[in-house]
């Protein structure tokens, strides 16, 4: 059952918590409305336990939404096999995202929507906190577990429902 508790139960943030993404269509709409979104991918996408599947989903999301991708660690090398991707550690990218004068990962201006995936839960938790407090950039966690510091997050999902949601997002983004 979907819940809105943080996955790691002690990670209680405070008064401002992420909206739960009620259905993938909401997220599709958010991405489509964004002026300059960015997809930030952590090193876990390339982990053997994901069997290359997550990389595949990331590539499909990026392609369908025409979203520039920045990846950290070995995920960069894997994603690069399929699409253009920038390399930057997550603390560095977050440090730039909070700077409204930054010209974006692609030099096309600052980003108004940042999507996160495949970052260790507690690392993403803090990265999202930094962005929440020190910028007006909207953030979305595409990971399986509820991230309270995001603007929007999935609830805690089982693997099957999560993949179903990612599929629906890709389908929605592919539709004109």
């Amino acid at each position: 059952m979907a819940t809105t508790e943080p996955w790691q139960k002690a990670e209680i943030p405070g008064p401002t918590k992420a909206f739960v993404i009620p259905k993938p269509e909401v997220l599709v709409s958010l991405i489509k409305k964004a002026n300059h979104p960015i997809l930030i991918v952590g090193h876990e996408a390339a982990e053997a336990s994901n069997n290359g599947k997550l990389i595949d989903y990331i590539v499909r999301i990026a392609k369908a939404g025409k979203i520039p991708v920045v990846a950290s660690g070995p995920s960069f090398k894997e994603i690069k096999k399929s699409i253009n991707v920038s390399l930057m550690p997550v603390v560095e990218i977050a440090n730039r995202i909070v700077d409204s004068s930054w010209n974006g990962i692609d030099g096309l201006g600052s980003h108004d929507l940042a999507l996160f995936i495949a970052i260790p839960y507690y690392v993403e938790w803090l990265i999202l906190s930094g962005i929440k407090h020190f910028s007006n950039v909207k953030t979305v966690s595409l990971d399986r577990f509820y991230q309270p510091h995001a603007t929007w997050s999935f609830p805690n999902l089982n693997f099957k429902d999560w993949i179903k949601s990612l599929d629906a997002i890709i389908k929605g983004l592919e539709e004109k």
Partner: protein, 782 residues
């Protein structure tokens, strides 16, 4: 040094003015000063005296805050919601609140080392006298206390000289702590400056502690060939009564081995340790065995091997007494800082205390006399051991299988686990008879036990993992080089030039705790990789232990493969947490001994030298504690970057440079006064890497310094490029920022790099005599 009290006593004096009897006057202290070096500008600095240096660093390496919590709950006007730009009832903003928490953490860390140092100095003075000489390396070391000389401007010669240093450190820590009170400091940048100050104080206290114990206890004195000692679960001889010591402050543990020696019992009792007390005990007695790092506490206690547990201070599990009771082992607490609710039996006759412990009338005792601890611990262990028969608190295999069948797969354990380990899946397999997955988890486990607290079925999950790994644990037999202590002056002279010119690509210090995201194996792998690449590798604390607990194909640990000298391609274990001072000390000595910069109370100039010339990086891969925070901040103020592992992001603030902000990367050329662009070297001061691979690319990058010669820079770039290509499959996109002249480019990748330089419109620069201090410019242009 130094200062001695002047006491004038007159028994009887008859003069024309009158008669004086039993007159005594004390006029404090007078300076008795054989040290000819003149004082620098900041002996015994208060925070404001080094503030301008701090602000220079913070201008380049700006704090990036990632609040752990949206609120402040430190006063009764709160809780206050500080989300975004909201202010608290006291007017404080979120950046200030975050930096305030960082300062609190660093004050806790600095206070911990300082109290440790004060206890040691008091104890050793009582035992050996104030005039006991400081000797950390005999004739191999002239600069015996580089941090104390630098910070305080004094040269300690005897144990008594260290008291004045601690007086200063204690006074300043109280000041820093007071700044965190509601309505004191309000600026985040000034909180950060105070963080640096707390770090510097911490390093000073650590140096006091370690040089005092090296001198008085005769630990290895800057010895590159300090003995190899045994480490691991499997090295403990279980046939003997076993005493386990845990903590950081070694006098009680030393009293145990002294008592054994004095009474001809050394071969009758096994003495082993966890965490830094184990390091320091093995420096005193190479026969003492190290069980492992801080995270080995639960697994070793529950194994039932210890017959008696002695705890001192720092990094000891708060439930150590409860865990000891589970295996029917008495516990002796020996520090006022960690009394564990036990009765104070310090003044009782040892025989009475032993009887009560052996009969189980008390689960443990507080004994605040180290000499008594030795006798009580040994006699108790000898009497308790036969009755205990190594009673353990872990189930047998069948017990694990039956227990696993009760698992509800509710995921509460995974959700409580810092590393989100897939425990339910392993439990499911265990319920079907396969314990392999449970066994595999133990290597990734930090030993916190949160899984057990969370389990609604009260299953002892950590114990299940231990049972599953029992065979592997028994085979844990490794070697670690005992902590060598300081770095010799001659070693500094030998490597000073190649380090400063960049020909030794860097000094990498693997330090800190064992809060790893993916096991200590990653530290061992990183250390091995960079030792092979001819970096100087130093280690300390739990990281030094983790590095020892893996073997190569020939069955050798990293300390058996690489020499212990401070030289290219070495792996030198300096010792316990307080021995971290020797790592900072080595950087300071490079400036002082090799470059002959004045040391005495000359902090800013030496830190400027290190920032611009000494390619050193600290790696706290499992950094967990407040002490680790203050140790890191001491390195930051010296201009030494620190990388922490993924969990280190929970320190909630990074100090990050922005390589694209060209204006941040100018220095003065001290020869001409010209401002010269030197690129982002080093790019960050405090950085959390998400993965080992990311750290392995960041480490060589953060070793670059503006002063590197073309040959040195080419060597450093070779490693940066090589690791970048191996891990990411590409040349670094920022390579043009680190190439100053064409001669910097490694010959093997020249064509590829030239292509990037062309793309980026690169222009040739100059290599300055770098400084960020205008006062160090030797000749100004009109």
């Amino acid at each position: 040094m130094a200062k001695k009290p002047l006491v004038l006593k007159i028994k009887e004096l008859k003069t024309s003015l009158g008669e004086i009897k039993d007159f005594e006057i004390s006029i404090g202290r007078i300076l008795e000063e054989p040290w000819k070096e003149e004082f620098g500008p900041t002996p015994f600095p208060s925070v404001s005296e080094l503030r301008s240096w701090d602000l220079k660093l913070l201008e380049r390496y700006k704090p990036f805050y990632m609040p752990f919590c949206d609120v402040c709950c430190l006063c009764t006007m709160g809780k206050c919601d500080l989300t975004k730009d909201k202010k608290g009832a006291c007017g404080l903003t979120m950046p200030a609140q975050q930096s305030r928490i960082v300062l609190l953490a660093c004050c806790i860390g600095a206070a911990t080392h300082t109290a440790h140092a004060r206890h040691l100095v008091d104890h050793l003075i009582k035992k050996y006298g104030r005039n006991y000489p400081i000797d950390v390396g005999g004739t191999s070391i002239e600069v015996e206390a580089p941090i104390i000389r630098l910070v305080c401007g004094i040269r300690p010669k005897i144990l008594g000289d260290l008291e004045e240093v601690l007086d200063y450190v204690e006074k300043e820590i109280v000041k820093m702590l007071s700044a965190t009170h509601t309505g004191q400091e309000g600026s985040f940048i000034d909180f950060e400056s105070k963080v640096f100050h707390a770090g510097m104080l911490d390093h000073t206290a650590m140096e006091v502690a370690d040089i005092a114990q090296i001198s008085a206890y005769g630990f290895p004195k800057a010895d590159p060939e300090a003995p190899l000692v045994e480490i691991g679960f499997g090295v403990i001889d279980k046939s003997k009564p076993t005493i386990l010591v845990i903590g950081h402050n070694v006098p009680s543990a030393i009293s145990i081995v002294d008592y054994l020696e004095d009474n001809g019992l050394r071969d009758k009792v096994e003495v082993c340790g966890i965490c830094c007390t184990a390091h320091d005990l093995s420096r005193y007695d190479p026969k003492a065995k190290i069980v492992g790092p801080i995270s080995w506490q639960l697994r070793f206690i529950r194994s039932g091997i210890p017959d008696l547990i002695v705890v001192d201070e720092q990094c000891i599990r708060a439930d150590a007494l409860t865990e000891a009771q589970k295996i029917k082992a008495p516990l002796i607490a020996t520090s006022e800082k960690n009394c564990l609710g036990l009765p104070d039996r310090t003044k009782d006759q040892p025989g009475d205390v032993i009887k009560d412990l052996v009969d189980g009338r008390i689960p443990g005792a507080l004994i605040l006399d180290h000499d008594k601890v030795g006798e009580i611990a040994i006699k108790t262990a000898l009497l308790v051991a036969p009755n205990r028969a190594k009673f353990k608190a872990i189930p047998d295999i069948q017990g694990v299988i039956e227990g696993a069948k009760k698992c509800r797969k509710c995921n509460e354990c995974s959700r409580a686990c810092p590393n989100n380990l897939p425990i339910p899946k392993a439990m499911e397999e265990a319920s079907n008879g396969s314990l392999k997955s449970l066994a595999d988890l133990l290597d990734l486990c930090i030993g916190c036990g949160r899984c057990e607290s969370a389990c609604p079925e009260n299953l002892p999950i950590h114990s299940f993992m231990e049972t599953a790994s029992e065979k592997k644990l028994k085979e844990e037999k490794f070697k670690i080089r005992a902590g060598r202590g300081a770095i010799q002056d001659i070693e500094i002279r030998h490597v000073g030039s190649p380090i400063v010119l960049g020909e030794i690509p860097g000094v990498i210090a693997f330090v800190g705790c064992a809060n790893y995201a993916k096991s200590g194996r990653e530290v061992a792998e990183m250390a091995d990789e960079f030792a092979k690449r001819n970096y100087i590798i130093v280690s300390s604390g739990c990281a030094a232990m983790s590095m020892a607990m893996y073997k190569n194909d020939e069955g050798k640990t990293i300390y058996e493969i690489y020499p212990g000298a401070f030289d290219a391609g070495c792996v030198a274990n300096v010792g316990s947490c307080v021995s971290n001072s020797h790592i900072a000390g080595a950087a300071i000595k490079i400036a002082s001994i090799f470059a002959r910069r004045k040391l005495r109370g000359n902090y800013e100039e030496i830190a400027d030298y290190i920032l611009n010339r000494v390619g050193a990086v600290g790696v706290g891969w499992g950094a967990m504690s407040q002490k680790a925070a203050s140790i890191a901040s001491g390195f930051w103020r010296l201009g030494i970057p620190v990388i922490v592992g993924p969990h280190g992001i929970k320190y909630r603030r990074m100090l990050l440079g922005r390589r694209e902000n060209e204006e941040d990367w100018y220095v003065y050329d001290a020869r001409t006064g010209d401002k010269v662009y030197v690129g982002p070297a080093p790019e960050h001061l405090f950085y959390s890497a998400e993965s080992k691979e990311e750290a392995m690319v960041m480490i060589p990058k953060l070793c670059m310094r503006p002063n590197d010669t073309t040959k040195g820079r080419a060597i450093k770039l070779t490693h940066y490029i090589d690791l970048h290509k191996r891990i990411y499959g590409t040349l670094p996109e920022d390579i043009h920022l680190f190439v100053r002249t064409l001669a910097d480019i490694p010959i093997t990748v020249k064509e590829e790099v030239l292509e990037i330089l062309k793309e980026k419109n690169w222009k040739e620069g100059v290599i300055p005599d770098p400084t960020i201090l205008p006062r160090l410019i030797r000749r100004r242009k009109e």
